[in-house]
């Protein structure tokens, strides 16, 4: 496996079924292009990032839920943005609090908000687009 291919996507959600679905979906689509890792909350996510980096992985995308026990999604993404500005952030939420989303978009240049339930290929398409931009 080439070093360049050692890329990872991290999914953060407090609902296990979401994490499992997401991982399956991403793994099925991207196969060995990415390592897909999951975390039930922000704290675990930070640990996963740390481990992956140690193992020489580059984290390209973080997909995070909005409402989570402990650190909330928006707060988590702001911190990630501060620490790893190159990581692309995608917010996935079941709640439509437009004002909060607007605020977050302004704050961390968030461009991708996926609302639950997402359509088939919705996430895949977004990621594909993002990846093509990165390649360019």
């Amino acid at each position: 496996m080439e070093e360049l291919d050692k890329r990872a996507i991290i999914c953060v959600d407090d609902e296990a079924i979401i994490l499992l679905s997401l991982k399956q979906e991403l793994k099925t689509h991207f196969r060995d292009k990415f390592l897909v890792e999951t975390a039930l909350n922000a704290d675990v996510a930070f640990k996963v990032i740390e481990k992956l980096e140690k193992s020489g992985f580059k984290i390209i995308i973080i997909i995070s839920d909005w409402l989570m026990p402990g650190m909330r999604g928006d707060e988590f993404l702001i911190k990630i943005n501060e620490k790893y500005p190159e990581i692309i952030e995608i917010l996935i939420t079941g709640q439509a609090d437009e004002q909060s989303i607007k605020n977050l978009i302004e704050k961390i240049n968030l461009q991708h908000v996926i609302r639950k339930p997402w359509y088939p290929n919705e996430i895949i398409n977004i990621i594909e687009k993002l990846l093509s931009k990165v390649v360019e």
């Binding site: 079924i17 679905s21 979906e25 390592l35 039930l40 996935i92 079941g94 639950k116 339930p117 997402w118």
Partner: protein, 794 residues
Amino acid sequence: MISKITKYSIFFIFCLNFFAFSEEKIIISGIYNFSPLVFYEKGEAKGLFVDILNYIAKKENWKVQYKFGTWAECYENLQNNEIQILPCIAYSDERAKIFDFTNEYLFLDWGLIYRKKGSEISNIFELSNKKISALKGSIYTKDLKNILEQFGINATIIEKSEYKEVLDSISKGETEAGVCTNVYGSILESDYAVERTEIIFAPTKIRFAVKKDTNSELLTTLDKYFASLKHNQNSIYYEKYREWLEIKTTSKIYQWLTWAFIVLLIVSLILSIFVLMLRLIVKQRTKALAEANKFLKESEQKFRDTFEQAAVGLAHVGIDGKWLRVNQKLCDIVGYSKEELLKLTFQDITYKDDLEIDLEFVNKMLQDEIETYTLEKRYIRKDRSIVWINLTVSMTFDDTNKRYFIAVIEDISDRKKAEFEIKELNEDLEEKVIERTSELEITNEELEATNEELIASNEELIFTNDSLEKTLKELKETQEYLIESEKMVALGQLIAGIAHEINTPLGAIISSNNNQNIVLNDVINKLSNIFLYITDKQKTIFFDLLEKSLKIKYNFSETNWEYKNILIEKLDSFNIKNSMIIADNICDIGIEFDVETYLPLFENKYGEEIIQLIYEIVSSKKANKIIEEASNKAKKVIDALKIYLYKDLKENKIEYDVVSGMETVLTLFYNKTKHGVEVIRNFNTVKKILCYPDKINQVWINIINNALQAMDYKGTLEINIYEKDSHVFVEISNNGQVISNDIKDKIFQPFFTTKKQGEGTGLGLNIVKRVVDEHNGDIEFNSTKEKTTFKVIL
């Protein structure tokens, strides 16, 4: 032995007695100046009585000590036991009450009045209005006072303590007369400018005296001696008598004169007593007459006063009707003067209508048919006005046996006036009754009319009532609607959270379903291809692992990084590409620890593909599981919503389990509570209650909603459900903001809210209260710093 001692004792006592008798007995005697019987001269007691006492004392072996004083002092000393004996004291019954006297007397004395030399006082009546000096406490002084009183003679007695002073005051003109005794006077009189009058009185026997009930032995001894001394003409008594008194009575003629005088004295005494008695009788009779006279006068006066001052009119009237005697009151009643009235007859002043009946009575009385009569009639006053009177008449006889009437006339104008007024009032009342009756008849007609109106308005009221009932029904419906709309408001607030709760499983379902479709197609293709190339061993391992994998129970767990790393290293040692992905797949399949089984796969080609294939098959199964779980989750929320939105259209209450109801409500709130609110459930199994479940759920929702808002969705929400005394208790507590005292009374009022406009309807707790009331339950709340609790009792 004993008798011997007794004998000696008796002898001894006898000796003592003998000794005592042989000793001098001391007797203290009073002495005062009453020469020549007793007197004190140059420190020595002298006189007839002293000589006799000394004589007896010598015989009896007494020692007499004399204590000098005035007569009054001696008298007092004897009373106070200062002296044992007083010689020379006149006997009187009064004194006998406090003193005991000797039976025998040694001298006879009497009182006599002295006048100033040249004065004309010669009989007792001439003492009238005179000043008389006399010895204080002397028996003569007392006697004189009695005599003067008996004779009604008014004189002033000036008391002195010595006879010398008595005579001195006469000679100095201080008094006009004085009392002295015959014997002492004869000694003193030559020293003063006084002379004897013929007034003598109170012959007295001079004796010895001791205090009553004391020294009786002494008295007995003295009497014994006196008797024998008086009996023997040659005794020391007569010797001393002559010696002390013969200054004046040297001859026997004088002695005779003395006796003659005594006889005279007694005769005059008897005479004076006789005179005295006569005077007394006269005085008494005069007094009785005077009293009778006075009584008559008083009676006459009383009668006159009674007649004159009586509060009623009184009159004596002749049988011809002439006023004979009238009193002032009568004059006042009829307004005539006494003189004017006495010239008239009663007929003259009687009101003509009343005269006839009065005369009838008079005739009857004159014919002895009646003894008395009473009549109310009118008099014409002098000023021609009429006065009503009550007349009572009786008849009597005068001195000359002439008949006349006694009339009592009482003014009754006031009473008559009052009677008249009452009569008038009565008549007036009767008129008024008639008047009122007719008025009442009118009123009655009016009332009947009003009644009809009332019936009409009652009908109107019934109509109004109907419409009110209708309105009430409408209001009730409105209330129902309000509850319903409140429910919708709560739902609106919850809907965002509920959407999330549904969107999340939906997301998982859609994603998994799509994935499953892709995977299944892929798996079928791969299976047919790969089985053409892989070894039999690999085939065996494939089925082995697949069988194991499918048996693994779906369980989400975090990645075991340590083991994953070890696995990656092992795979790397086989020079396997994509060790990372393969390790991840192995972990996802859940067979990571079964290294010995799956490692041989990589001895040949297609090991990675075989693992991928197993992963996909397992994924497909997992997707199914996710869909199932997500569907259940979504169903639970939908169910809760369904329960919440359910409206029982039936009127009847149904059985409801508070615990499961509460769980449903908490499901709806799950999204609001899961981040930051610790929900403590203390749920006990409780009996099912009959209620309208949708309404009761609304109660829980409203209370919990308020609780969460009060603690800003952070803190502890504690819910206790328990059964006590066959009631179900639900306590919902939060540790948020306190309900301040000033709004405690208002929180159940409709449209009261502390929330910003638009955030709350202000109906939440009001609905809670109404629903609880509707279920005959009770709601209480208590708010402290620690926590606010709403307690619902059903």
